[in-house]
């Protein structure tokens, strides 16, 4: 039985990784989770310079999920390389660096700084960031903006590039195709779905930012549907996420077309979620007589 997968030439010991922003740089959970067991560690979105993020409250619990409006607070690429990437050199797992920016130039500069970092296996480009040159509209909601940024990043990148798609669009298939046409090596989805929560007694918004991104089991059916649509629209690999809590959830994504899966919010609920997924996927393969995950990847 083989849980290993290969994506864009990068070998993963298993298809389970964390979703960006929910696991810090791995360091924060390293006392609770053996990072060596993970298929990959996906780091929190990092930009060219430090970002302050949004005012608090930044998080709110919702039914089987949560809203967040962290605002991509990050320490900037220089400290990230010196501290977080250096820390990850102690572990035998792939490192996928999630990159954010306010303009094409900002993304490109961060990606260029990562070019010489030996322990970066892949880049994941978060296009759910506001584009300051386009009145704050997210790059990932317009196919032309997505193509432009994909091309620019691909030109600068030394590592394979995963474009992380936003679900806040009419046609996810169209966005996946735009990323593929512009040269993306893979796509990952879904990022959070924009939502809102109101405190009816205070007659105000729960989040200081008013809106936030919904994640957790509440969004899983939407995510499975979108992974399915994206996987059918493109030939490049798809990494699936959105509400994954169990091995059964992960296998749904794999059958819908995901070559690997990521766990986000559920890390907060139970830090062992990813380890349980790895064990559960092995058990399922054994029970079902599956030798290699490719036998069930995208069978629907």
């Amino acid at each position: 039985m083989n849980t290993a997968v290969e994506i864009c030439g990068v070998k993963f010991k298993n298809p389970v990784m964390n979703a960006s922003g929910t696991f810090g740089s791995g360091m924060e959970y390293s006392e609770l989770v053996d990072l060596n067991r993970l298929g990959a560690i996906v780091t929190k979105g990092v930009a060219k310079v430090p970002w302050e993020g949004n005012p608090t409250p930044r998080v709110a619990e919702t039914s089987s999920g949560m809203l967040n409006a962290i605002g991509l607070q990050n320490p900037g690429i220089d400290v990230f390389i010196e501290r977080d990437l250096e820390f990850l050199k102690n572990y035998d797992t792939n490192v996928i660096v999630n990159v954010c920016g306010h303009s094409v130039e900002e993304y490109v500069e961060a990606v260029e700084r990562l070019a010489d970092c030996g322990n970066v296996s892949m880049l994941e480009i978060n296009v759910s960031c506001p584009n300051v040159h386009e009145g704050g509209i997210a790059f990932g909601t317009d196919p032309r903006a997505l193509e432009e940024i994909t091309k620019a990043v691909k030109k600068a990148a030394r590592q394979p590039v995963i474009m992380k798609l936003s679900p806040n669009v009419t046609s996810i298939a169209e966005m996946a195709k735009a990323a593929e046409a512009a040269g993306a090596d893979a796509v990952s989805l879904i990022n959070t779905i924009t939502g809102m929560k109101i405190d009816i007694y205070k007659r105000s918004f729960l989040l200081a930012n008013r809106t936030g991104g919904l994640s957790g089991p509440a969004i899983k059916p939407v995510a499975v549907r979108m992974v399915y649509e994206a996987a059918h629209a493109v030939k490049i690999p798809v990494i699936g996420m959105g509400g994954i809590a169990t091995a059964e959830d992960a296998i749904e994504f794999i059958m819908a077309g995901a070559s690997a899966v990521a766990v986000g919010m559920m890390n907060f609920h139970d830090p062992r979620t990813m380890l349980k997924l790895i064990e559960g996927i092995e058990r399922f393969m054994e029970e079902q007589g599956i030798d290699d995950l490719s036998e069930i990847t995208g069978i629907l």
Binding site: T56, R58, P75, F268, H269
Partner: protein, 262 residues
């Protein structure tokens, strides 16, 4: 830091809506006063852990005491725990109180408002065991009728001064009013309680150049420093974040009042 299922050894109701437990947990081995834990009741609808401060530590017995006020779903579920029940815990978390600064300080004021009192019990015990004398504890409550929970236990270690919102016990007013009416100016303040009280203490301490350490709260998702949900504005660039922002769950929850913008 550990993540495990803790077991309820003992459960108590301290006042209307105020509950406490002693939990058997490996988290007790390294816990310090002022740190907290994340408790998760395991509901499929309410997935996030609830941050609760460590009230007291029994190192030999390997257990932690937690005391909370029922505020919503999670704390409500927790109030239904019984001896022998298990509950998911992550901890100990955060920095805890810096007790070394109390060395040599004469007049230490420990100030707790309402459900801010519990973490101060472990602090006062530690100060007492460290030989600190002249510790005055100021505890604020709604009213005598609503319950002066834990006040009796503080008296084992220090002089206790009560303030109530309605004047039914002790000073009529806040803990700051009680401090002022005592006429003794502290050299060091530790405080935990609602934001208006902490703002008042920050101002009081800054006007008199008294070092004050305050315990802060914010909505948390992870409790371990990973999500960046729980930040407070800081006066200086924070080493971890590289911006004027520190994680309450990791760099805190205890901050020097002068360093944070509340």
């Amino acid at each position: 830091m550990i993540s495990e299922k803790a077991v309820v050894i003992e459960k108590e109701q301290l006042a209307e809506g105020i509950y406490g437990v002693w939990l058997k947990t490996a988290a007790a081995a390294e816990a310090r006063p002022g740190q907290f834990v994340m408790l998760n009741t395991g509901s499929e609808a309410h997935l996030l852990g609830r941050p609760i401060s460590i009230c007291d530590i029994d190192r030999e017995g390997g257990s932690l005491r937690l005391v909370w006020r029922v505020a919503g779903y999670g704390t409500g579920e927790m109030s239904r725990l019984e001896s022998g029940d298990g509950i998911d815990i992550i901890g100990p978390l955060g920095n805890g109180f810096d007790i070394s600064v109390a060395k040599g300080a004469e007049n230490i004021a420990v100030m707790g408002g309402g459900i801010g009192a519990p973490p101060l019990l472990g602090l006062v015990r530690a100060l007492h065991e460290g030989g600190a004398e002249n510790v005055d504890v100021y505890l604020g409550y709604r009213s005598a009728a609503a319950g002066l929970f834990l006040a009796g236990e503080f008296k084992e270690f220090a002089a206790v001064h009560i303030a109530t919102d309605d004047g039914s016990e002790g000073t009529h007013g806040t803990v700051i009013d009680a401090l002022r009416s005592g006429g003794k100016q502290p050299e060091l303040i530790y405080a935990c309680g609602p934001m208006p009280m902490l703002k008042g203490i920050k101002q009081y301490a800054e006007e008199r150049l008294i070092p004050a350490y305050i315990s802060l709260e914010e909505r948390m998702a992870c409790g371990v420093g990973a999500c960046l949900g729980c930040v407070v504005k800081t006066r200086f660039k924070d080493g971890h974040s590289q911006v004027e922002n520190a994680r309450i769950c990791t760099e805190g929850p205890i901050f020097a009042a002068k360093d944070v913008d509340i």
